[in-house]
């Protein structure tokens, strides 16, 4: 029997349980973020990414003038912007995959996130949660898609975890 703890479920939104997701469902996330130093240079440096093109404004770069934002910083921002609507009720994030960096992001660009439910299925060992696969998209302020990637989460079932 999987452990059941309901006391902290009150901190979570009413929506986003395993039962709430349907394959094919498409979500536009409410908040977009500008990629400034905190989301760009800082993430690259925090992750010890030594490629100076991500944090040296005067490094020559064939793709952009100025700093090219680390692709995984953009990906992480998309994973964050979409987290409340997709992973708030997650037991854990199991895997990511098929990450593609489709267009450059520069500092002061703004990234919006969209998600699509690709699959949902039972977990072989957990009755209290199921597996949901999302495809996330990051879109620049000029509507160019800059990032696509998948994330698989183990999402709690309302029937097992809700207080009500």
């Amino acid at each position: 029997m999987a452990p059941i703890n309901t006391s902290f479920s009150r901190l979570l939104g009413t929506h986003g349980w395993y039962e709430d997701f349907a394959v094919g469902q498409k979500i536009e996330h409410a908040r977009a973020s500008t990629v400034d130093e905190l989301e760009g240079s800082f993430i690259a440096k925090q992750a010890m990414n030594t490629a100076q093109g991500h944090w040296n404004e005067h490094s020559p770069n064939p793709l952009v003038s100025g700093r090219l934002v680390f692709g995984l910083a953009t990906a992480s921002l998309v994973l964050g912007l979409s987290a409340q609507d997709t992973m708030e009720h997650a037991v854990s994030e199991l895997s990511y995959g098929r990450f593609r960096f489709l267009a450059p992001v520069q500092h002061m660009d703004t990234v919006r996130a969209y998600s699509e439910v690709l699959d949902k299925r039972a977990h072989p060992e957990r009755a209290d949660a199921g597996v949901v696969v999302f495809k996330h998209y990051g879109v620049r302020q000029d509507e160019v898609v800059v990032f696509e990637g998948e994330r698989t989460g183990l999402i709690k079932k309302h029937a097992h975890w809700s207080e009500f």
């Binding site: 452990p3 979570l12 993430i43 690259a44 490629a51 921002l77 964050g80 990511y96 995959g97 960096f101």
Partner: protein, 165 residues
């Protein structure tokens, strides 16, 4: 008389396409002790405010000993520590595949990255670049457990461009 900086020799970093052979292993530099502060800043700066990553009482109620480190940070860090050996010499990121989180990591853990060359091939459109795919693993230095594995592919600059006939 002013200092002549052109007399200083550049301390070059990074490898070229010609430096990679299939099966070659890189133990990447430095390692990293992941502090609570680093993990927290990563999550809040990427708008990832779900309680699993910012609320210790919540994480403990889920059975964790502490707040688990946001797996996106583990991925960024694994790539970051591998950049000098693998991709710093230039060339865009083409993709990352099969990113699997095998065990949670908690603040205070020290992690190390290691990569193996899976494939090298020519770029049909870019004579000055090749394409390399590596498998990277992140290891917890205390338990020895592999916590994250993935493969990534980059365009990698050639030292000598290939000339088409």
């Amino acid at each position: 008389m002013s200092t002549q900086f052109n007399e200083f020799q550049l301390s070059r970093k990074g490898n070229a396409f010609e430096d990679f052979t299939v099966g070659q292993v890189f133990d990447h530099h430095w390692g990293r002790t992941i502090t609570e502060a680093a993990a927290e800043l990563f999550s809040v700066n990427t708008c990832n405010w779900i309680p699993l990553y910012v609320n210790r009482e919540f994480a403990v109620s889920e059975g964790h000993p502490d707040i688990p480190v946001n797996p996106a940070f583990l991925l960024c860090l694994s790539v970051g520590m591998s950049v000098e050996d693998l991709s710093e010499a230039g060339g865009p990121f083409l993709g990352v595949e099969e990113i699997v989180f095998h065990h949670p990591v908690y603040p205070g853990c020290t992690v190390y990255a290691r990569s193996t060359v899976l494939e090298t091939r020519a770029s049909e459109s870019r004579p000055d670049y090749g394409i390399v795919t590596w498998q990277t693993a992140l290891r917890n230095g205390i338990s020895g457990a592999t916590v994250l594995t993935f493969s990534r592919t980059n365009l990698v600059r050639r030292r000598m461009p290939v000339h088409s006939s």
